[in-house]
Amino acid sequence: MKWMKEHKFLTGVACTVLALCIVIVLSYLTGGSTGFVGRQIGNVTTLVQKPIASASYAVKNGIFKFRDTVAENDELKEENARLKQEITKIRLTERDLQELRELAGAFNFDGTAYDYNMVAANVISLDGTNWFNIFTIDRGADDGIYKNAVVVNGSGLIGTVMEAGSDWAKVISIIDETNKVSFIVLRDPDMVGILQGDGSGGLAGFMLDNQAGIIEGDVLVTSGMGMDPMYPKGIEIGKITSINYNMDTQLKTIAIEPSVKFKNLRKVAVVL
């Protein structure tokens, strides 16, 4: 005690370091949830950030001269995103349609519902790591967004909601290695696999069937299988850039280039 009184600064620093280490461990154990206090702080900061974020984007795009063009462009982007999803869904269902029609009569099959609701949101902040795996959007639980809701944009799958406040949500992208996604190959939906972040800004995965006839350039889309988060079927993930056969695990492993450019995220849509 005497030493602590004589070295107040060092004692204070040591206690702070210890407290921060405990906070980090607790945060890790709770899966990064910030709790009630964290959500309230998030609400306040989002309130301040929203106008500044939108103003900064407006300045970047030329607020005075091109404002209308930018608004129109945003609308077109959203429409383009919807149409791209529609095309993917149509291409997927085309091949299965024949079989499903036959099965429908026998088993009273209802098919997969594709009419998901979507909420458009703006990216208002990125995390401090410059890794682009986490960002904050300006929509939250008030708009129906919930934890593990799937986030997309016109290019494809972005990630899932990690935590949702009343009017903000933290999104963790698929390039984070904690997100595992089941996929199918668009060219042949019978070829199924699982992918996740490779720790270097890309995606890596493996095929469930090691004899699967995949080729470089094959487009991968979500399979619709799996739970929590349940990725809707048909969302584009990326393209295969390399294929290897691992002799030890006897798995066909692949490297994937994500369709989404995570450095340039501005607008996203949350699937509800």
């Binding site: 906070v23 900061t45 720790g199």
Partner: protein, 166 residues
């Protein structure tokens, strides 16, 4: 400098960090304004502990609002602030080269600490990937730190021939 002015600067940095800075990114790298303030305050006002106290407080706030896990940024700023206070014994405060060296070192330490802690928490992000933007990141931070240093140094180191010296 009074504490309230320092707090105002950190608040402004917190808000601008996550909004305005994203539109001036180079290869995805943006300046870390809170880190820049921690560096400048630790370098110039080491006796007041501005860097440590405000770095930890705003690091925590930043983590709560924008990061996956809480406490990493706060711990990183604390360690950086302490490191700067230590190197202050051998650095010339009045030399701009000193602050440039400190800024580059602090940026590297920040990236290294972030990567190390995330790796300890199970992240598989590669070292090379985490450090790929470090040159741009260091460049940006050093530019901001040098700017802030130029503005604040005259208030800290006063000379007899300065007009405001009393």
């Amino acid at each position: 400098m009074k504490y309230r002015y320092a707090v105002c600067m950190f608040v402004a940095a917190l808000v601008l960090q996550t909004t305005l800075t994203n539109i001036i990114s180079i290869f995805g790298a943006v300046p870390n304004l809170i880190l820049c303030l921690v560096v400048v305050f630790s370098f110039l006002y080491d006796e007041n502990n501005y860097g440590i106290v405000l770095g930890v407080a705003f690091g925590l706030l930043y983590d709560i609002c924008f990061s996956e896990y809480v406490g990493i940024a706060a711990l990183a700023y604390l360690v950086i602030s302490l490191a700067i206070m230590l190197v202050n014994f051998v650095m010339n405060k009045e030399s701009v080269f000193s602050v440039i060296i400190v800024s580059v070192g602090a940026t590297a330490l920040h990236s290294l600490m972030y990567w190390s802690i995330m790796a300890m928490l199970g992240s598989s992000y590669g070292f090379v990937y985490a450090m790929r933007n470090l040159p741009f990141y260091a460049l940006y931070n050093t530019a901001v730190v040098t700017g802030l240093y130029s503005l604040m140094i005259k208030k800290v180191i006063r000379h007899h021939n300065d007009r405001y010296y009393k």
